[in-house]
């Protein structure tokens, strides 16, 4: 069992799905600073995914400073800093673009989109 919630669907990038799930778990407090994070091997085994993919997931999360590798201890959840780095803004811009395109396509105006975001924000 893994210490965070994740549901994997085929057809989408495994890496992105797991990175998203871990990020969400950290934001919601399922994972807290200092918590031990699974190794490549147990991530691979639990999710039945390729160890190379598991390795990349850990690398991405470490690079985004959500996890930190501690020699002798293993990987732990880093102290979460909400400050927005340009890298994170870049990730967000991608999602925003998709949201805007989809909203326009469905004919939803900006006000309704913002309301939907506010509702989800809480």
């Amino acid at each position: 069992m893994l210490p965070f919630s994740v549901t994997i669907r085929v057809g989408r990038s495994l890496h992105d799905q797991v990175v998203f799930a871990v990020t969400k778990a950290i934001i919601t407090g399922q994972l807290q600073p200092g918590d031990a994070f699974p190794s490549v091997r147990s991530l691979s085994q639990e999710l039945r995914i390729n160890p190379n993919t598991a390795q990349k997931i850990l690398a991405t999360l470490t690079e985004r400073r959500l996890l930190e590798a501690r020699p002798g201890v293993g990987t732990t959840v880093a102290a979460w800093r909400p400050a927005s780095t340009p890298g994170r803004r870049g990730v967000l811009a991608d999602h925003v673009e998709r949201l805007v395109v989809e909203s326009k396509r469905l004919g939803i105006d900006l006000g309704d989109v913002l309301d939907a975001i506010r509702k989800e924000w809480k």
Binding site: L14, S44, R48, I49
Partner: protein
């Protein structure tokens, strides 16, 4: 870095039938390579030749840099091979089978062997002849994993097995994950299972390699595109681009598979080509990509 496994212009004939034709592929060390293809494509023949069960008619195959026809104990000790219809001695018990295999492998790991038996719910006292097919595959897998092979070759390991057994097998295989330079060559039709595991996809059809590329790449360049044309009765689309395959149409909806997806550009091109009101783009599963490629090749045949 030497590849774990390679074939060069490998050809295998059964009488006049060319089961494998001029096949060249490389499985890099440290990757999980999935050999995919329709039934009769030559997957099993390829694997058997590499494992020196069959001799090539021409060309060559090698494992850890050693010619397949010269594989000896020092290579075989590092290779685990499980095939769909593996013959195991029916009169032996599971325990006897493992005790028989053990002395051949200096790297045999008793603790791993016990763990796999427990995980697989296998009892050492059970006679192999009385086991279900799923249990027999599990027994074969334990005997091939317990010595922590650096190369694992699995020919249709999941076929015809129930989901729980398949899940057990995948978990067992991943027991070795994290070993240094651990390599897997796998042929399978259970594409949802494979999608989670694969690094590189080798697609063969009629004994030839059609495509060999990382799944990440494949996943990035294949998209199902759905277009709603502006006209009520759009002209039946001719070949607009060689990169668009499996073109189909119903009413004003046109569907095809983009094989060279570029964000934005694909949508712009489809909008122009069909004077579209709407273009939707969907990522595809390995199963969907496989079906699209096989259909396209079938349609292209005279």
């Amino acid at each position: 870095m030497e590849p774990a496994l390679a074939t060069r212009n490998l050809t295998c004939r059964y009488g006049r039938t060319e089961a494998v034709a001029d096949l060249t592929l490389t499985v890099e060390a440290g990757t999980l390579f999935a050999l995919l293809g329709p039934n009769g494509a030559g997957k099993t023949t390829t694997i058997r030749t590499v494992m020196n069960v069959l001799r090539p008619s021409s060309g060559r195959a090698s494992v850890f840099g050693v010619e397949s026809t010269r594989l000896g104990p020092s290579e075989l000790q590092r290779i685990g091979y499980v095939s769909e219809n593996q013959k195991l001695p029916a009169w032996m018990t599971v325990g006897e089978l493992l005790a028989y295999c053990r002395p051949f492998y200096p790297s045999w790991d008793d603790a791993l062997c016990r763990k796999l038996l427990t995980d697989f719910d296998l009892r050492t006292g059970d006679r192999i002849g009385r086991l279900s097919r799923g249990m027999r595959v599990k027994a074969a897998l334990v005997s091939s994993l317990a010595y922590r092979p650096r190369l694992l070759v699995l020919d249709e390991p999941f076929s015809g097995l129930d989901p729980v057994v398949r899940d057990d097998l995948v978990r067992g295989v991943l027991e070795l994950a994290g070993e240094e330079r651990w390599t897997v060559l796998l042929s399978s039709h259970d594409l949802d299972e494979v999608e989670r595991l694969v690094d590189v996809v080798g697609f063969i059809d009629a004994g030839r390699l059609v495509l060999g590329e990382s799944f990440a790449n494949l996943h990035a360049r294949f998209r199902r595109v759905e277009v709603t044309a502006g006209d009520a009765h759009p002209a039946t689309p001719a070949v607009v681009s060689a990169d668009w395959i499996g073109m189909r149409q119903a009413g004003r909806v046109i569907q095809f598979v983009e094989t060279r997806y570029v964000p934005r550009e694909t949508v712009v091109r489809a909008t122009e080509a069909f004077r579209a009101n709407q273009v939707d783009v969907f990522p595809m599963t390995l199963r969907e990509i496989f079906v699209a490629i096989v259909r396209d090749r079938r349609e292209a045949r005279p």
